[in-house]
């Protein structure tokens, strides 16, 4: 059975393109089949809701920004084209794009402040926004005719976007559906799609890998809004009547989410699948039951919604994909020449001699959190090609220093010069990544719902726009960090040691000049620590400068060229490893008197 399914999946994959072509042809024929207007309407509605839900999914599923206000853009689309048509006799084909333009403008203005909200409050803000537009549309009678609504007179003709034959509407909406599906499909495979997935999983980590999260969200919103808005025009032309309580209704927004969730949120075809199942149910509930018990359809939706998120969160497409993954053969990994065994101390000494000019110079950096001075007047410098160890007791401000020099928090004072350029004024972490500063996080932040390879590819996309190139680059990196065997594993199922490796690999994929490693060895056993030490050494040998925060003194001593010790936010000592560990101040503040005895250092 399993072997049979595996062959089936493999052949389906091989004939993917012909299969998609077949589906498109089928979709093109379908509108012609039924003669009965009821079924024609059903087909149109399936395409229509699928278009809207696919557009919603691009923002809500891919980027994880849950909008409950998409009805607003649907309504703007419907009203703009209709008002332009009724008042100026402007063809709705043009009005459609005018509405889309207006929607995108509004989305830009509203999205700008709301994108800084966390998920729950973003949803809430968009919900409020949708409600407000509904109220405005009801209130502004001169423009919208208020609650009475607008009626589009039946004057058939292509120019008027009004047809006698329902099949014509079916083709129009089918074209819209195919367009939005194509866009989604292309995005999914591209750098942009990876950015969206990454920021959905962890915004901070995405930023550290060079993703401009704000801009990526904005693009996703604008594209999503564009399709939502033109579907609004379609609706107005098809039904020929609009009123605020229909086109601006919040349950339109909820419906889009429902279709995506049932079909498979964050998948390309999920919303379409959701529409195939739920739109007929919707028409049935409204048609047969809605007349008797108004509101019953929404009760059913509510129940489906709760059951779906509790017991079936992957949705149909997500579930199928997961099942298929079980029958898939992992693609063969290309062979990359393995890295040399870890270099001995001799090689390191030789390298030290050629160490170059200062790469980063930090001058009197300060950061205060309320009453706590986390970093006080800290200055240090790291040379090109160097490994600088940053040690100190817990709470000394080490991670704060990393956050300051990777753009995660703004400094109160002080300058950071990197590669001859003052970067103190850069605002967001992705700018620091663009300057070639990579970092890892002490508390690892894997993109849990992406595979290990995809995680690393997000980093690789900092340097290339080509998916294949990013993939090749990333596979090479996986080999280097000894994680190739997990390339197609979901990052959420990795052990802690592998997660630490992944952090390292992802940062490395951005091709940094300076790599900030925040306790990459914490929680590892001695063998795993050895392994990571070897990896770090090989990275350093390639000319990457490294600053590492570490408590594992054995690693610090064997890797560091120099060490900076900080305590209570100020620099205590700076110097060569062997001098630093003998310094009485360091022993008092951090190492403790027993260190030398246990470490066996003389």
């Amino acid at each position: 059975m399993k072997a049979y399914l595996t062959t089936l999946v493999e052949s389906a994959k091989r004939f993917r393109k012909p299969l998609i072509a077949l589906a498109v042809v089928l979709a093109l024929v379908i509108p012609l089949l039924p003669r009965n207007p009821f079924y024609q309407d059903l087909i149109i509605m399936i395409f229509f809701w699928a278009t809207l839900a696919t557009a919603w999914n691009l923002l809500g599923g891919f980027a994880g920004q849950i909008s409950l206000g998409h009805a607003a853009f649907f309504g703007i689309g419907a009203y703009t084209s209709t008002i332009l048509f009724l008042t100026f006799n402007l063809s709705p084909w043009i009005g459609m794009f005018a509405g889309a333009g207006l929607s995108m403008l509004v989305a830009f203005v509203v999205g700008f402040p709301t994108f800084r909200l966390t998920s729950h409050f973003f949803a809430l803000a968009t919900l409020a926004f949708g409600e407000v537009l509904r109220l405005l549309a009801s209130y502004w009678r001169e423009l919208t005719n208020g609650g009475v609504g607008l009626l589009i007179p039946h004057t058939p003709g292509f120019r008027n976007f009004i047809f006698d034959n329902k099949a014509a509407y079916a083709y129009v909406i089918l074209v819209m559906l195919l367009a939005v599906l194509c866009v989604t499909y292309i995005f999914k495979k591209s750098r942009f799609g990876y950015s969206l997935f990454a920021l959905r999983e962890d915004q901070g980590a995405a930023e550290s890998l060079g993703v401009n999260t704000h801009r990526a969200k904005m693009y996703a919103l604008l594209i999503s809004v564009f399709f939502t808005s033109i579907a609004g025009t379609f609706y107005a032309q098809y039904v020929a009547f609009i009123e605020p309580d229909i086109v601006f209704a919040s349950h339109v927004s909820i419906q889009l989410a429902l279709l995506s969730i049932i079909g498979g949120i964050g998948t390309v075809f999920g919303p379409l699948v959701g529409s195939l199942f739920l739109t007929p149910l919707d028409i049935f509930l409204r048609g047969w039951l809605g007349g008797v018990f108004s509101g019953l359809n929404f009760i059913v939706y509510g129940v489906i919604l709760i059951l779906a998120v509790m017991y079936f969160p992957l949705g149909i497409a997500g579930w199928i994909r997961k099942k298929i993954a079980g029958f898939e053969k992992a693609p063969a990994l290309p062979k990359v020449t393995p890295a040399d065994p870890a270099a001995g101390p001799d090689a390191l000494t030789a390298r030290r001699a050629v160490m170059g000019a200062p790469l980063m110079t930090v001058d009197s950096l300060s950061k205060r959190f309320g009453g706590l001075e986390a970093v006080k007047d800290l200055s240090f410098m790291v040379r090109e090609g160097e490994i600088l160890g940053l040690i100190g007791p817990n709470g000394a401000g080490k991670t704060t220093v990393f956050n300051l020099i990777s753009g995660f928090i703004p400094a109160d004072q002080g300058t950071i010069v990197f590669n001859g350029k003052d970067i103190s004024s850069l605002k967001t972490p992705h700018c620091f990544c663009r300057e070639c500063i990579g970092r890892t996080f002490q508390l690892v932040k894997p993109f849990g719902h992406m595979t290990v390879l995809e995680n690393v590819m997000v980093g690789a996309f900092a340097c290339t726009g080509h998916t294949e190139e990013a993939r090749k680059e990333s596979l090479a990196i996986l080999q280097r960090i000894h994680l190739s065997h997990h390339a197609y594993t979901l990052a959420s199922s990795l052990t802690i040691a592998d997660r630490k490796r992944l952090e390292l690999g992802r940062a490395l994929a951005t091709q940094p000049k300076l790599l900030l490693l925040d306790e990459v060895m914490a929680g590892l056993n001695p063998k795993e620590t050895e392994d990571i030490i070897g990896i770090i050494r090989s990275i350093s040998r390639d000319g990457v400068t490294i600053i590492m925060i570490e408590h594992v003194m054995k690693a610090v001593m064997s890797l560091s060229d120099r060490i900076v010790v900080i305590n209570n936010g100020i620099k205590l000592v700076e110097g060569l490893p062997n001098d630093v560990v003998k310094d009485q101040r360091v022993i008092d503040a951090y190492l403790g008197g027993a260190y030398h005895a246990t470490a066996g250092l003389k």
Partner: protein
């Protein structure tokens, strides 16, 4: 003009106290469980209908009905937390958001089935009574609503400050893991916090009934107000919600008079956007 303004301030503050009670439950739930209860307004609607039924069938005064509504809503919230919220606590936000949205859809449409879309209210002997101080009016039902709201909020703050469970709730809001290590029964405490939050909105519904109409979608009207208050107050500060409630009450009074009562939601939303732009952590939120 000066007199009008004083009158508007009186009305606004009285309304604001009620709004504070309306939103404090939402703040508490968000502060402790870190989820936004999108069915908040629908809980308010149910409580208004319950108070309405108690009045219609037993002649029970809406204010008196608090002795029924507070425990019933506490248990209601407790049960909802156990059945629906708890299994989703570690899920992605999407699942949490749509679980409570689903609840809201069910609630408002069950109400539509049972009560139709009619507007209903109760007529109490004091409904139209005003106290007159010189040139100013104070509506008696609004005054009572205000006093009850403030008393309940004060009781809640004392409870959170003084009792063990109250302290456990605050501890959970601060640091989930540390609270667990201190031996706090996390799931019981979550359910209690959710129950208290729902009891607060239930109380708000009961005291709101003599002042307003109840209809199946009344919830969405008030949830917008509650959401704006929570954000203005700083997401998880109860004291912030109290002050923000009063401010929103004042704004509603003034915008209703100077702009249009129909556009008050628009005013809220503009305010909401401005808060987001200029003070994203709210008035009392910490950075």
């Amino acid at each position: 003009m000066g007199e009008v303004i004083i009158q508007l301030v009186i009305n606004g503050l009285l309304l604001g106290g009620l709004y504070a009670l309306l939103s404090i439950g939402l703040t508490l739930i968000f502060g402790v469980l870190e989820i936004v209860n999108f069915a908040h307004g629908e809980f308010l609607m149910i409580s208004m209908y319950l108070a309405f039924l108690l009045f219609s069938f037993f002649g029970m005064d809406p204010y008196l009905s608090l002795i029924v509504i507070l425990p019933v809503f506490f248990l209601f919230g407790y049960a909802i937390e156990k059945i629906i919220i708890k299994p989703l606590l570690n899920d992605p936000p999407l699942n949490q958001i749509f679980a409570t949205i689903g609840l809201g859809l069910i609630f408002s449409n069950v109400a539509l089935l049972l009560f139709k879309a009619d507007f209903r209210t109760v007529k109490t002997p004091y409904s139209d009574v005003n106290l007159i101080f010189g040139n100013f009016f104070v509506s008696v039902p609004r005054l009572i609503a205000f006093l009850i709201a403030i008393a309940l909020i004060a009781a809640l703050l004392v409870y959170l400050k003084k009792t063990f469970t109250g302290k456990a709730i605050r501890a959970l809001a601060q640091q989930r893991k540390a609270a667990m290590l201190m031996g706090i029964d996390v799931h019981r405490t979550y359910a209690i916090a959710f129950g208290i939050g729902i009891a607060c909105v239930g109380a708000a519904g009961a005291v709101l009934l003599p002042l307003f109409f109840v209809f199946p979608t009344v919830g969405s009207l008030f949830s917008l107000i509650a959401f704006v208050i929570v954000i203005l107050g700083g997401y998880n500060s109860l004291a912030g919600s109290l002050v923000a409630g009063l401010i929103i009450g004042l704004i509603e009074g003034f915008s209703g008079f100077f702009i249009s009562p129909h556009l008050k939601e628009v005013v809220y939303f503009v305010l909401f956007i401005f808060i987001l732009i200029f003070r994203p952590t709210g008035l009392f939120g910490k950075r």
